[in-house]
Symmetry: D2
Subunit: 267 residues, 4 copies
């Protein structure tokens, strides 16, 4: 059962997002008798268990916190990481294009700290599956802990090792590559992906795009889409509505393709 | 069973995306004996049934088509509509922020032609549920047909009528409003949404935002987020990589809030 | 004297922008006795001469036109062209970075239809100078006509021919390249540009950038800046304020550098 | 004579941009016998006078500096300020739309720290003129010092005081407002601006736009344009070309209109 199975009130064992001043978030799991400690004071878990979601609590030093169920975007943004993680703006679009949802088997390389893995695992449900390769042992273990913390580990098969020699899986519905050199893995993807299935990638630089595109063509990936997603926040002040002063200018370019039987020589 | 349950080969009853020249898409459902007709020629359904996905077919006039499993984004973009539909770039981000996935019960008003409803229904799976209100009978019926076509109608409760007097549902996980006057429906949303749950909206104009924000505050919605998502495509030419000449500049502003027990007077 | 020398009323010889329905512009030069003809009817020049700027006129078929002094942006956007012209959004930023203004001598290659040349010629004034090379005779002649039409030809030295062997000028204040292969012209620029001076370029593709940057370094151009300018219009409706539906997604990347005596090996 | 009158070598009295590590800029005026002091060491002015522009100098502590002529964009970005200044990306577009160049008389309110005033003064040349109103004495004085420092004060008439009762000038070519409440000044602008002339404004919030637009209509300003300019930088690394991680998301919305004799009831 994933972390997002919730009652109207908070219960022992629930994953909780405590939202404090300046939108500062803390994620904890409720446990009878435990104490949440922060530099803004302490809160007894027992004072939260049984409270309705959305309640306002006050620490022993008088600081307010809201008792919230964490959203998917919150979970992903907060993931413990040793590396650049993927952003909800990109993950959301990837999910839409590649059709990641209940029952789907999706293959990922590399795992990183498991942000995208978490989103995939949440979305494929109990009937789907995520297989994710990572060659750095430290990241592999970090992702395992991150997935366990949100109760999604049972939907994920984390594998340690490089995949230059190929993936063990066959006929997966979708493959996503978050690797510095995706152009080295395209034939391996071809062998594991269902014909007609989606391949997706995130690439930080234009050099990686120009190097990857011809390899996609050679391996009969068609209907290529290259794009980038930009997210601009606004200050929610109805008397002075305006975008925030600064924004993230770039996370990565997204490249998608679909595995076909022969290269389309058309249009 | 949703449309995306697929074998390695195309089977009778499958939903098919035929991708022709210039990325032109046709969506059909395979049926023994049927004939697909287009101004680029005819294709026998029997010639597709049993073929591997990704196969290249040729119409009787010599035009090529690829036999593809449709992605979620393709399905949504193609939906039969009488109105502005929502874009995958926006839906993807909505799904991430609001945590729409297997087992979730999400409430929507209004249905429109059912594009967002389709995405929600796909993602909540067999264990979740979508309830969607629409007051225009014509749109209500159109959405019904669109959802039936992709086998997702059994997950959706389509309701005809305005909701100024409130929604019948209680304790839903998330509510999304795609209405010209969302500011008139906030107390009704409050009554139906779980405390701690997510409210989302899409608003085409800044005037709607400035009118809605104070009503959200009055009704104890906190952690408000206002943003917009921009999608820029690139021409996938590795020797001349560059963005396309033109792009969609605006679909709508997204506004999100979370239902809490009291207005946070903090930060 | 440039076209923008104006009195309060329109006079014989003035350059006029007639702004009609749907912001449709016509540029003419007033001449006693002449007739302006359009598919929306005719207007006598004599009926415009002596009228205050901003007057509303009506053609013989009843269509309204406003008598306007053309702005620089209008002039440039309307320039007769056989090729992609530069956009005001890009020209404005180029002018700011490179410090193009009264008294400056700027060198350009290639001229194209003369849009950028027009802006430069307008801004350098009677005390400055623009030298512009073009190797296609047809474009060279088109630019000449375009510049003559706005009375700016006397500030511009249009030269026909390639510059692979170098520019004739020395110690110019700034050089701008609008060429498909700027990387082939960097040493020639170095020889003609004042030390400390600005080099600017517009490049449609990322491939051109990655090929040009190392050549800039080899030739001691420092403080390199690579950027792009995006312009988004809003519908000026105060009850429904929102961006236009579509926008120009890309014109070109701008690259700037400054000629120094040795490559900076620092930071 | 403005600051940008330059020889091939740096001379006594020249305005100099010393560009050091991490693109850190220092602006000084060369003076025989003076010493430039920074936390990266000292440089004798005499060691710079007579040196070619673009020369590499080394401070007494071994830190490198390049001897550069400042560009317009550099000057503006560096202006001493007590307030938000305007950005080159916006100024460049304003200049293009409003046709600010040699010989033009432009009116501005308010002066602020004089960034836009500096650009206007540079561009109108010796034959043009800038009049700028400011009601805060401190800003008025700051702008005076900033303009004097770049030798542009003789082209500018700085006036202290509010203009709710109107501007003293008549028949100016263009008016630019950088005020929190431009909607209070439109009739005053109308009285001072040549018919057919350009009015421009920068407005941080959408609320200001929606409040200003109807006042523009009432006062016979037509051909309204509302837009925003976004600037995205790229890291100039040819092996890893990509946008910078973060960017300025918003400076202000630009609004332009043209003074006409009657409101156009058309299109």
């Amino acid at each position: 059962m994933a972390w997002n199975n919730y009652d109207v009130i908070a219960r022992d064992g629930d994953m909780v997002q405590l939202l404090g001043k300046r939108h500062k978030s803390h994620f904890i799991r409720l446990k009878t008798g435990a104490i949440f400690q922060t530099h803004r004071g302490e809160l007894q878990h027992d004072a939260m268990i049984g409270k309705p979601w959305g309640s306002r609590l006050v620490s022993h030093t008088g600081n307010p916190f809201f008792l919230m169920r964490p959203g998917l975007s919150d979970i992903i943004t907060e993931i413990k990481r040793n590396t650049q993680i993927m952003y909800p703006k990109d993950i959301g679009y990837i999910v839409m294009v590649m059709g990641i949802g209940p029952g789907v088997h999706v293959l990922e390389a590399g795992t990183g700290s498991g942000a995208l893995t978490t989103a995939f695992a949440f979305l494929v449900g109990d009937t789907g599956k995520v297989t994710s390769y990572e060659q750095r042992e430290q990241m592999h273990n970090l992702a395992r802990n991150n997935l366990r913390r949100v109760d999604l580990l049972d939907r994920v098969d984390l594998k340690l090792g490089d995949v230059l020699d190929g993936f063990e899986e066959r006929d997966v519905d979708a493959v996503f590559l978050d690797l510095p050199n995706p152009y080295d893995y395209i034939p391996q993807v071809k062998a594991s992906l269902k014909l007609g299935g989606f391949l997706g990638m995130i690439l930080p630089t234009t050099n990686q795009i120009t190097r990857t595109l011809p390899v996609l063509m050679e391996n009969n990936f068609a209907f290529i889409e290259v794009c980038e997603i930009m997210l601009r926040y606004y200050k929610p002040d109805w008397e002075r509505l305006r975008p925030t002063d600064r924004m993230v200018a770039h996370t990565g370019y997204l490249v998608f393709g679909r595995s076909v039987m022969e290269t389309p020589v058309m249009d």
